[in-house]
């Protein structure tokens, strides 16, 4: 199933690259706005709060061993490499993945998909490609944004709980976390974005013209996307275990 979707996407991407002027630019732009710009608030809030929670809990445990200064490395690696991208991906899967499935599903219910077919418009080109490209582009940026918010939360909590000044935190962070962690996070975020979009489109296109099917499709889309993100994250962790640690 995923191979078929990826094959279709590749085919449409080649068509897009060969005739970029006739590409679905407006749809891409709309999706970047909806899935990216409109998700900035929620991703920042969740990232910030998780940063605080992680910092407080870690500080307590590290203080037991007198290893409080390692909080920067612990938070840095955990957030930059794992939590930032995964949190952003899970939020986007719930927020944008469900929206994409519902949007395409409603198009089935209102016969818009049939109308497109009658007009000879390729669904893959007009519906799947813009969403996949937008999420592949937006996901790394959202991951970076969530990471920054989580680090900010962690930094403030470290200051309050351990008296670690923000200046020290900011100076110690680049030394504690190798840049390759950030590149790895960006790379896997792009894969997450692509998978969430393809999965959401797949379930949207499978919706039957009734409201029950629409609800089932949306639920299945979100659950599958989140599971897929966690599985692929585990795969990345195993494949790149020697990078940046």
């Amino acid at each position: 199933m995923l191979l078929v979707l990826l094959g279709g996407l590749l085919f449409n991407f080649v068509a897009f690259v060969t005739r970029p002027l006739r590409g679905p630019w407006r749809e891409i732009s709309a999706q970047v706005f909806r899935t990216g710009a409109q998700a900035l608030g929620i991703t920042a809030l969740v990232g910030f709060l998780i940063g605080i929670v992680l910092s407080y809990l870690s500080a307590q445990q590290l203080a037991v061993f007198g290893a409080g200064q390692f909080i920067v490395k612990l938070l840095g690696v955990a957030i930059v490499r794992e939590l930032g991208p995964v949190l952003a991906a899970i939020l986007v899967a719930g927020r944008s993945g469900s929206s994409i499935t519902a949007q395409i599903g409603v198009m089935r219910v209102t016969e818009e998909l049939d109308a497109m077919r009658v007009m000879g418009i390729r669904k893959g080109y007009r519906l799947v490609l813009p969403r996949a490209l937008a999420l592949a582009l937006v996901m790394p940026l959202l991951a970076a944004w969530t990471t920054a918010a989580a680090l900010l939360g962690g930094m403030l909590a470290s200051d309050l709980s351990m008296g670690l000044s923000p200046e020290y935190f900011l100076v110690a962070l680049p030394k504690a976390v190798q840049l390759s962690n950030l590149w790895l996070a960006m790379g896997k975020s792009m894969v997450f974005g692509l998978l969430i979009a393809l999965n959401a489109c797949h379930f949207g296109l499978r919706v039957l013209p009734n409201t029950q099917s629409l609800g089932e499709g949306t639920t299945a889309s979100v659950v599958t996307s989140i599971t897929m993100v966690i599985l692929v994250d585990a795969l990345f962790a195993v494949l790149f275990k020697g990078v940046g640690i």
């Binding site: 709309a30 009658v118 007009m119 000879g120 418009i121």
Partner: protein, 260 residues
């Protein structure tokens, strides 16, 4: 010359493991310039028949030929330049304005300059009686009648010789329904269209049809001009055309239907 030829059609659907046959050895031929109404009870497969003419669904047996080509080929290639389709609820793209909806098939074709596409879309808007000020409205801001008109303009934007209508007056109030019927009749005559309509609305059927095909018992039981269909002896025809609603609609037939 026949625009649509359906021969030996057999259609079936499987729902929750139960296979239901919709059509069995269904034959129908639609000549150029006709206004054919397909009538039948709920679940008799009228809309399925329209979808098969469009190539959106494939029968398990039999052939559907549209303008000399198999409908399946038409469906794969996109039929907008040969067949216009008015869906029951309009099926307008909710993210596009009225003008963008109408222009979309031309924009996708990609052979006309942008300014010309705009002009053609505006002409089609006027043709279906839409005010130019509606051009930049979104579908959600339109009344039911306007949605149908926009959808009709989009269906006709590529000047197809064949127009399919799925319940064109469903959801419209009597005035809007009458106005839409008048529009359909004038378009049929002026553009010399072949029109195939699926509807339950007897007033619309009698006002517009030059021929009626009744689908019952999984095939076309009668296919003739309105007056002959009414006299046909079959339980469905008796209930549908000679019931109380039928009598009211017959008054329209007696007063104005041409060609019967």
């Amino acid at each position: 010359m026949s625009v649509v030829v359906i021969h030996g059609l057999r259609s079936a659907f499987t729902t929750r493991g139960v296979r239901a046959t919709i059509h069995k050895d269904l034959n129908l031929s639609i000549a150029q310039g006709e206004f054919l109404s397909i009538v039948g009870g709920s679940g008799s497969g009228k809309t399925v028949l329209l979808r098969q003419i469009l190539g959106l669904e494939t029968p398990i047996k039999g052939t559907v030929t549209v303008l000399g080509e198999p409908a399946a080929v038409l469906g794969r290639a996109g039929a907008a330049s040969r067949v216009g389709m008015l869906f029951q609820h309009g099926a307008l793209f909710s993210a596009f304005t009225v003008l963008e909806n109408i222009a979309f098939p031309l924009r996708e074709l990609g052979t006309l300059p942008r300014a010309l596409i705009h002009d053609v879309a505006m002409v089609k808007m006027q043709m279906v009686g839409l005010d130019p000020s509606a051009a930049h409205k979104m579908p959600a801001d339109l009344s039911g009648g306007m949605v149908k008109r926009v959808a009709l303009a989009r269906a006709l934007v590529m000047d197809p010789p064949l127009l399919l209508l799925d319940e064109p007056t469903a959801g419209l109030d009597p005035d809007a329904s009458d106005a839409f019927c008048t529009l359909l009749r004038s378009l049929h005559q002026e553009l010399r269209l072949t029109v195939v309509m699926v509807t339950h609305d007897l007033d619309t059927i009698f006002e517009l049809s030059t021929r009626i095909a009744v689908v019952a018992d999984k095939h076309v039981i009668v296919d003739a001009p309105p007056r002959e269909v009414i006299d046909f002896d079959h339980p469905f025809v008796r209930d549908f055309f000679r019931g109380e609603r039928g009598h009211r609609a017959m008054e329209v037939l007696h007063s104005q239907v041409p060609g019967v």
